[in-house]
């Protein structure tokens, strides 16, 4: 069976490295992008099975990336988890408005996040 693919979009490279190690060890193939514009492009090219999307990103913030993907029927079914820091005042109404499937706050519990990733991928419609 093909590995499920997760795209991490975050400008903290060391954090991305740690997350990638954990996801790889859990059997996922990991794609990375370090800013919003690259993240959007990569999501559109690669159509991953799930996106871990930081909100505070250079070039284009996570809310906008999420909104653009969810508005497009070609990518709208990809589950997106928004990642925020506690001091950023995450707005759950805005998160819902842009279509995010879930959000987590850094630093998060890795096992809980893995469980959520598994659940969202399982529930997502199959790709054609």
């Amino acid at each position: 069976m093909d590995k499920k693919r997760i795209l991490i979009v975050d400008d903290e490279k060391e954090m991305v490295e740690m997350e990638a190690m954990r996801l790889s060890a859990s059997g996922y193939e990991v794609l990375v992008a370090y800013d919003g514009e690259s993240g959007l492009e990569m999501a559109q090219c690669e159509k991953p099975d799930l996106i871990l999307l930081d909100i505070m990103l250079p070039k284009m913030d996570g809310y906008l990336v999420c909104a653009k993907l969810k508005r497009d029927s070609r990518y709208g079914k990809i589950p997106i988890i928004l990642v925020t820091a506690i001091d950023q005042n995450y707005d759950p109404d805005l998160g819902k408005k842009v279509g995010a499937d879930f959000y987590v706050m850094k630093p998060f519990e890795p096992k809980l996040l893995l469980a959520k990733i598994k659940e969202l991928i399982r529930k997502a419609p199959r790709k054609s």
């Binding site: 001091d87 759950p92 109404d93 850094k106 630093p107």
Partner: protein, 371 residues
């Protein structure tokens, strides 16, 4: 405007009243005063004082408000505009609130019209202007503190997240096998990373509360579920100490409009404290819903609090007593944060305690939060 506010300079007063008799009395009273100098203008309604051509021309507004109750909605609107002028209410009826409560509502002071006398009115105006200036200075300091804490918080939490994940990767054997000692040491590291994180979160929370910048994101939540989650979080620690955490609820579900994360934060501090300071016995949480309010009481059989320390219990950086079995003391912010969160939800929090026997921390939330 700053120079105009000094005692020796003229203070610019706007009297908002449609009563010619009151206008005459106030103008006469202030013109008779020799200690301070006043320039008085008038308008018919408080709303006019908010308008652009009146803005920032005055040091103080005297508002013929009749009563504090009638002033209600207009005061709220005035407060929301964050005006720089001091506000003094002129009332027919004595207020039922304390000076601090009146200040919270947006007015610096109030005076009964029947007590209007030149010296008293003059003194009140000068003090109201000074009080307003001091309040604004404190607000600016609180904003500055919040920005500072936010900056520090981000600089600490970003690398902390990386450290946490790095340690977790080794602890969870993702990078290879570890022996029992290594597991134990890594568990200690993880626990203390969480401890640092909690300290930073508490600092951010208290700074936000003090700067009036904690915005609640309210949604329909089940308070019983939130308490159950908190009980689950602390049950392992309580079990290790040998006592249970019991939850007794008058209903299976108690719905409320609240900020789920903030309420969980408050519950975590309250239940966490109860567990932390209890050596034996139990921690019991009672939830009751009456028609008009919802009450949550967390009772422990722990150390209790002395009469000397009771008045300080909800203050910042207050630490009393030792933790049974040793361990983290914390920064003494948890109860201050809980109080702030409960009060932001329109509720009240209180404590009863007997030294050596235990404490009950309880809060109530108005049922009007629902719907």
């Amino acid at each position: 405007m700053e120079e105009a506010s000094k005692k020796t300079s003229s203070l610019k007063v706007l009297l908002a009243s449609g009563d010619p008799a009151l206008v005459s009395i106030v103008k006469k009273s202030l013109s008779e005063e020799t200690g301070s100098s006043f320039i008085v203008e008038t308008c018919a309604h408080l709303q006019q004082a908010s308008e652009a051509d009146f803005a920032k021309r005055f040091d103080v507004i005297l508002w013929d408000a009749v009563s504090l109750e009638k002033a209600g909605a207009s005061l709220i609107e005035w407060r929301s505009k964050k005006k720089s002028e001091a506000l003094v209410l002129l009332l027919d009826v004595p207020p039922k609130k304390s000076p601090d409560e009146i200040s919270e509502e947006g007015a610096e002071d109030c005076l009964l019209k029947k007590d209007l006398a030149p010296a008293l009115l003059s003194r009140m105006i000068v003090y109201a202007v000074e009080r307003k200036r001091v309040t604004e200075k404190f607000a600016a300091l609180a904003d500055l503190e919040l920005e500072f804490v936010r900056m520090i918080s981000h600089e600490i939490r970003a690398p902390l997240g990386i450290v946490k994940e790095s340690v977790s990767l080794v602890h969870d054997k993702i990078l290879g096998k570890t022996n029992e000692k290594q597991q134990h040491v890594l568990s200690i590291a993880k626990k203390n990373i969480n401890r640092i994180d909690q300290v930073v979160m508490n600092l951010v929370s208290i700074s936000k509360i003090e700067a009036h910048k904690m915005d609640l994101k309210k949604e329909r939540v089940d308070l019983v579920e939130l308490v159950k989650k908190t009980v689950l979080d602390f049950s392992p620690r309580a079990a290790a100490l040998g006592f249970p955490i019991k939850l007794i609820s008058s209903k299976e579900k108690i719905e409320i409009m609240a900020d789920k994360q903030r309420l969980l934060e408050a519950l975590s501090h309250l239940v966490g404290n109860a567990v932390k300071f209890t050596e034996k016995g139990s921690v019991e949480i009672r939830l009751t819903e009456t028609g008009s309010k919802i009450e949550c009481a967390i009772q422990d059989t722990g150390l209790g609090i002395s009469d000397e320390n009771k008045p300080k219990i909800f203050g910042k950086f207050q630490q009393f007593g030792w933790v049974p079995g040793g361990g983290e003391k914390g920064m003494g912010l948890g109860l201050a944060v809980s109080k702030g969160i409960i009060e932001l939800h329109g509720g009240k929090i209180k404590m009863e305690s007997h030294l050596g026997q235990g404490s009950t921390f309880s809060f109530e939330l108005p049922a009007e939060n629902y719907g």
